[in-house]
Symmetry: C2
Subunit: 292 residues, 2 copies
């Protein structure tokens, strides 16, 4: 297991972690400057932030700073009730792939979608098995585009509390079943993003990480689970402030061949988003050394 | 599959559903009166409510009304950092077993506990595998007492969002693995409580219900998952108001031999606990016919 206690070469910052500080959007190019100034070597940007900054400008800044990407957030949202919605999602996912290529990302992270309409508050149906079948079809289609571009797809299983409205792939086992079905040859074109916030509780986590192996372990996201958690979406904790044994899990992914970054992704409306972005980045560095 | 569309003989009321209406405790004996007046045939009381009403008085009221129990809530909380805490839990669980016997419950429901201290906001450690081992030991010990009394134990897997602070048994598969380890003969002394709120999202739900079979399916709890869910604990929905295909799941448990009640357990601080208890019970009856 790599020793990161004295440096932060293993750290990546998911830019949602500092997207809006004290009510003000922190522009992506400024985030990149702040990361580079601290010797942070990698980021994972969100599409809306890239769009606001401009794709070409973002790519240029990434290159100028010598930053790596640990992923690109995000594609997916495959579940729809109508063919037009499905086609629009596919078109949008193709654009996401192109952007990921432009930014030289190692993978496009997929949040697959839940029951259609649920995120807006009114699910169109209760057929989660049907939604899962639609996800499988959607990934199979997108995988063709992904292979053409040489851009791997990373299925991110989301915590079961998001099964209805954000992603109906909810365990690493389920995500890997899908990988086995759609890419049985383990080509590297399809894998998983292991975000500890979503999977830390799973009694099969270690076994499924071993099952995934280096070919399927495309991204590793960290933050912490707080007790109590006061909001289902935006109350994620800084590493070390919660109950997840992050270092143990990093040991597991590394023992199975993962050699990438630990990507910090924290949605925290009441705490970390209320602080200065520089303070948040400095804290990420310190906690990465001590807790990741 | 049984047809309950025209009556409510399959309905049980978990008394937490109407424990505190508009800020006032609804005394258990009044809840029993109100259930009986509506022809509701079964209840599942909580220990604190029974204690407030008195065990003997509760048993007498249950008998006088001809009510059945669908379970007794609850034992468990096996995870502790010190031997004294563990012993106190065992003693308390034995008392719970005795109470369940007095009330003629079909099973004692177990909420097994999470990381010690987490429910109070400060976990004593992050070793969830260790907590799970302690749960296994605790259930093995309690099973001796349960067998002596002829009172089955029903392990309730709780939603993964409660893994840290309430229960580190989080899937039906995991609960059944424990049943297989501790009661390989499938004696009927150990089984599971299937609460759809906790397990509805699980892609393996149908398969694990089939694996459980009649000997292990000791209780079936219903409510609904709302989108959005605004509180991790107390924002459960009335059947029909959310995204769970409850009838499909009832079909699965019945196809595998479950012939008991559908127990309505709704924690709803902002909605159902703010209404009159009679209105809530009437709604449970109507929704049970239409949505369960």
């Amino acid at each position: 297991m790599r020793d990161f206690s004295a440096d932060h070469r293993g750290l990546s910052i998911n830019t949602a972690t500092v997207r809006k500080q004290r009510g003000q959007d922190w522009p992506l190019l400024q985030i990149l400057d702040a990361c580079a100034a601290r010797g942070i070597g990698a980021i994972s940007p969100w599409r809306d932030q890239v769009q606001a900054a401009g794709l070409a400008a973002t790519a240029a800044a990434v290159k100028a700073h010598g930053l790596a990407l640990s992923g690109y957030c995000r594609g997916g949202m495959f579940t729809h009730t109508d063919p037009a919605g499905r086609q629009a999602a596919r078109d949008d996912n193709r654009r996401a792939l192109d952007e990921a290529c432009t930014l030289n990302a190692p993978c496009l992270v997929l949040v697959v979608g839940g029951l259609p309409g649920a995120l807006a508050g009114q699910a169109a149906h209760k057929d989660i098995a049907g939604a899962r079948a639609q996800v499988s079809e959607g990934i199979a289609e997108l995988l063709v585009d992904a292979r053409e571009r040489g851009m791997p797809l990373a299925i991110e299983p989301l915590h079961p509390m998001y099964a209805a409205d954000r992603a109906c792939i909810n365990t690493l086992e389920q995500a890997l079943d899908l990988c086995d079905a759609l890419d049985p040859q383990r080509s590297g074109a399809l894998g998983v993003a292991v975000d500890l916030y979503h999977v830390w509780w799973d009694p099969k986590l270690q076994a499924q990480i071993a099952r995934a192996g280096a070919q399927r372990l495309l991204a590793f996201h960290v933050c912490d689970w707080l007790t109590p958690t006061t909001d289902l979406l935006n109350d994620r904790g800084m590493m070390g402030d919660g109950v997840i044994d992050i270092r143990q899990a990093r040991g597991w992914v590394e023992a199975n061949g993962f050699a990438g970054y630990s990507e910090v992704e924290i949605f925290s409306s009441a705490n970390w988003w209320q602080r200065g972005g520089g303070e948040v980045l400095d804290t990420c560095i310190e906690r990465h050394r001590r807790c990741v």
